[in-house]
């Protein structure tokens, strides 16, 4: 196990720079998730840690060692690929043993380690099968087994669950997390799915257009998004963001509706800003703002309502069951303890 330090790392393909100086510190044994929309550079960064891409600038350390010029096989990392990259002509056992066979490990050691990894992942009965004879979830497990067998300093996962169906994805999410708690190996995991990030990570790194937008514990990102991008990216359904002006009495939207907000810096009155409120932080309140119901989506445990208020469309999630029909009016109010304000120009959070 080892820590990973990424210091001012840059990546350019010719004149096109895709990663613009990224700094991330990953502690020993930490589970870090790089998350962001496609094209944000998260996979490139992971491949740079693995050694599959050159590092154009900056420094990557695994443990005490700078690995910029260290070939991949000497970096002591193991990677799980999006398409699993299982060798189709080898059995499950051979797939897992391949790296050890290459370095001519004794057969007894190979058998022991493969057996142990297979035991952890429940692959004991599949060792003689070929990848084609396995289901998606089983292939996923073999790919992880191949990584575990090597007992590396760092695990790298590149969108490992994106080829699985929704139900299996939830199950594998739990398995990977459990595996990490058991092995305690430093893990860097790339995904575009913020739910995966929220549920699994010790630390989330939100990336966008080649820079780190924010880094922190899942709930920290949820509670205090540093900017509009993170605010919109983290959380499902995503945060309602309304443009308008901060006034002494609250937040006046462009549609002329005044929302009550929590405390805000006194000097910000009159400033153009964006008001953020998460769907689950809007409550029903007879004395609240009037909103017209557009769509009601009952989910059983909660009810999602899309409503229009002052010309702007809002998503609300209520714990109680709503009887209102589309076209009717409901009264809503934000929980003022958990509202967010962002600078309209820079998109940065206005600290309260």
């Amino acid at each position: 196990m080892a820590s990973v330090q990424i210091a001012d790392v840059r990546k350019a393909y010719g004149a096109t720079q895709v990663i613009h100086g990224v700094d991330i510190d990953i502690d020993d044994g930490e589970f870090v998730i790089l998350v962001g929309p496609s094209g944000c550079g998260k996979s490139t960064l992971l491949r740079m840690i693995a050694g599959l891409e050159n590092i154009s600038g900056g420094e990557i350390r695994i443990g005490p060692r700078v690995v910029n010029d260290v070939p991949p096989k000497e970096r002591d990392i193991a990677m799980v690929f999006q398409n699993y990259a299982l060798y189709p002509h080898m059995t499950v056992a051979d797939n897992m043993a391949f790296s050890m066979k290459l370095r001519k490990a004794p057969k007894a050691e190979i058998d022991e380690r493969v057996g142990k990894a297979a035991g952890i992942l429940g692959l004991d009965k599949l060792l003689d099968r070929y990848p084609r004879q396995l289901s998606g979830g089983q292939r996923q497990r073999v790919a992880m087994g191949r990584a575990i067998v090597r007992d590396p300093q760092v695990f790298l996962f590149d969108e490992p669950l994106s080829n699985l169906d929704a139900k299996l994805r939830v199950q594998m999410r739990t398995e990977i997390k459990e595996l990490h708690q058991r092995l305690k190996t430093t893990t860097v995991y790339v995904t575009h799915d913020q739910i995966e990030a929220m549920t699994m990570a010790d630390k989330i790194v939100v990336m966008h257009d080649g820079i780190v937008e924010q880094m922190g514990a899942p709930l920290e990102l949820y509670d205090r998004p540093a900017n509009l991008f993170v605010a919109a990216f983290i959380g499902s359904p995503s945060m309602n963001l309304l443009k308008g002006t901060i006034t002494a009495g609250g937040f006046e939207t462009e549609g002329g509706v005044v929302w009550p907000i929590g405390s805000h810096p006194a000097d910000s009155n009159g400033k153009a800003a964006v008001f953020g409120i998460r769907p689950e932080h809007i409550q029903l309140n007879p004395n609240g703002l009037k909103a017209e119901v557009v769509v009601v989506e009952p989910m059983g445990s909660e009810t999602q309502v899309v409503a229009r208020c002052g010309g702007q469309t809002l998503t609300c999630v209520f714990r109680e069951r709503i009887t209102a029909k589309p076209g009717e009016t409901i009264s809503i109010t934000p929980d003022t303890n958990v509202t967010h304000l962002f600078d309209a120009g820079t998109g940065k959070r206005i600290v309260t």
């Binding site: 693995a50 599959l52 991949p72 096989k73 690929f81 060798y87 080898m90 099968r129 004879q133």
Partner: protein, 320 residues
């Protein structure tokens, strides 16, 4: 409900029997497939099975051009057994096939691996590689004929200019020179087919497999040995079967270059058969030489078939 089910078969039979056999054949879905197969079968029988059968039959007769023969059993084969020229042609054919196929495979695979890399002007180079393949065989044979010419050979001329030799090389006049020269011409012509086919095969190998192998600690040679080669074997088996069959039955190149000379040193079974059957008019004997090629070809197909059969990892699905 039970009643009606029990009665069903009886009623159906009585209904069926009212149609004529022809009506049944015409409408039956099982026979429909047969009707669709008929044209293809007709073509195959007319142009493949019939000539093959005729050739085999001729080999058991003493037919000459212009004179229908009679059945003489194995007499043609007994003659061939004692014919030194025939055995020379068998040796030549085996040498030609083995050496040329092996060389084509090695060079073709090398070219394919090279073309699979990121090269500048990749598309153009790939197109260039195909040129020997698209030039008509006879044209390229004539080109080689000039290249190997006793007086005007460009190779001899160049080597002389360099001062490496002091007299022209007798490419097609010397026994072994002629063999190697024809093999070289065949290799030049056959490499593109193998290179392009193997290149197509290489492109089906997912790049992430190489990345995974790199992370697993494989050197470039080990990546070739443990990833590329095993994944390419099915295509190698197919392409080499074709290559061996084409080389074994080669006729045009030899006929245009040497006509089997000097002193039968480059006679292949195909050219000898043509010479005996068409030029000398001994159709029966020529047919016997052609028929003698069949066991060799079947053996080549058998080996390739076996090679394809043993790849268990390709046959997915079955959970035995």
């Amino acid at each position: 409900m039970a009643n009606s089910v029990a009665e069903m078969p009886a009623r159906q039979t009585s209904f069926r029997s009212e149609r004529t056999a022809w009506q049944k054949l015409k409408a039956s879905p099982n026979w429909l497939g047969f009707w669709y197969m008929m044209p293809a079968m007709g073509i195959l029988i007319l142009f493949l099975a019939y000539p093959l059968g005729l050739g085999v039959w001729l080999s058991f007769t003493d037919t000459k051009i212009g004179r229908a023969g009679v059945f003489i059993g194995l007499e043609n084969y007994i003659w061939l057994w004692e014919d030194r020229v025939f055995w020379t042609s068998v040796f030549n054919t085996l040498l030609y096939t083995t050496v040329a196929s092996a060389a084509k495979f090695v060079i073709g695979l090398y070219l394919a691996l090279l073309l699979n890399k990121h090269l500048p002007f990749k598309a153009m180079i790939r197109a260039l590689v195909l040129i020997p393949f698209i030039v008509p065989t006879v044209l390229s044979a004539i080109a080689f004929w000039w290249i190997y010419d006793a007086q005007f050979s460009i190779i001899s001329w160049s080597l002389r200019q360099l001062g490496w030799i002091d007299h022209n090389i007798n490419f097609l006049g010397d026994v072994w020179n002629a063999r190697w020269s024809t093999i070289f011409a065949n290799v030049w012509r056959g490499v593109p087919f193998i290179a392009i086919t193997l290149l197509a095969g290489l492109q089906t190998v997912s790049p992430s497999l190489y990345e995974a192998a790199t992370l697993d600690g494989a050197t470039p040679w080990q990546r070739f040995r443990h990833i590329t080669y095993p994944l390419l074997t099915p295509i190698i088996a197919v392409v080499m079967t074709f290559s061996v069959l084409f080389t074994f039955t080669d006729f045009q190149l030899i006929w245009a270059l040497t006509r089997g000379g000097p002193v039968n040193a480059t006679h292949l079974m195909a050219t000898l058969s043509y010479q005996r059957a068409i030029i000398a008019g001994q159709l029966g004997e020529g047919a016997a030489i052609s028929t003698a090629m069949i066991p060799f070809l079947l053996a080549a197909i058998g080996i390739a078939w076996y090679g394809l059969q043993t790849r268990k990892w390709q046959q997915g699905g079955s959970n035995e």
